[in-house]
Symmetry: C2
Subunit: 142 residues, 2 copies
């Protein structure tokens, strides 16, 4: 085990056609809050981050809790292809790591695939799924 | 929004054929720890809970962090059918709620479907998926 690894679950991503529509249930029924909303041009995706509201964070900041990430395609790309092939649904899980390139290398991934992801964070998807699960690594939100 | 809701993400479940095999990567490569391992006879499933190790929990107990749950079928049932139809992969997300029957009712679910799930907790799956995602509700681990 690498010292760069072993961190917490940063977010669970759900591929959706319309993040505004999808967010409503989490906001209205589960009382979550939108903590980020951004477009990652390089991935042709809009990412909306949802966290438990303040009352349920027990003093923790929103980015210290595992978030729900709604990933809406805004052009051709991996998420767009996923929704076309599989419909909406659970897409990937992301773990925080101290150093994305180091962790990617330690896990046998391709460091050339590191990109600037949500929150401006160095981010990488491991090419090889683990038991059918796509795994992403990202540094914590500062 | 109900007062019974709005809590944190308890776990993300991955349907796997062999939880021991699947756990290895999370233990050896991500440095996570097994915090529960039980068979839920009523659901014909073995559930293995994985949490970040102590060093990465910042003082929080293992059950205060969002866990990875490996769900291995041990007989005919929902998880067995999922693996046969879809292969291994992300299966559902679970939110903690103060009162599972009340939260199930507030979310339009069927309270007759409440069962004793992982950790002996009152648990319920909402019949209706949300944007393709199966959602479970469970009371926090005491």
């Amino acid at each position: 085990m690498s010292e760069a690894l072993g961190r917490r679950l940063d977010h669970v991503a759900i591929a959706v056609r319309d993040a505004d529509q999808a967010a409503r249930w989490y906001l209205d029924e589960l009382g979550m809050e939108i903590v980020s909303d951004e477009i990652i041009e390089s991935a042709s995706v809009r990412l909306v981050g949802l966290a438990p509201n303040m009352r349920h964070r027990a003093g923790a900041g929103p980015f210290e809790m595992t978030m729900i990430q709604l990933a809406q395609p805004v052009g051709a790309g991996r998420v767009d292809a996923f929704v076309r092939d599989n419909g909406e649904g659970l897409h990937h899980i992301c773990f925080t790591v101290d150093d994305t390139p180091a962790a990617t290398a330690a896990l046998g991934g391709d460091t050339r695939a590191v990109f600037v992801g949500g929150g401006g964070r160095p981010t990488c998807f491991l090419q090889e799924t683990r038991n059918g699960v796509l795994v992403e690594l990202a540094e914590p939100v500062p």
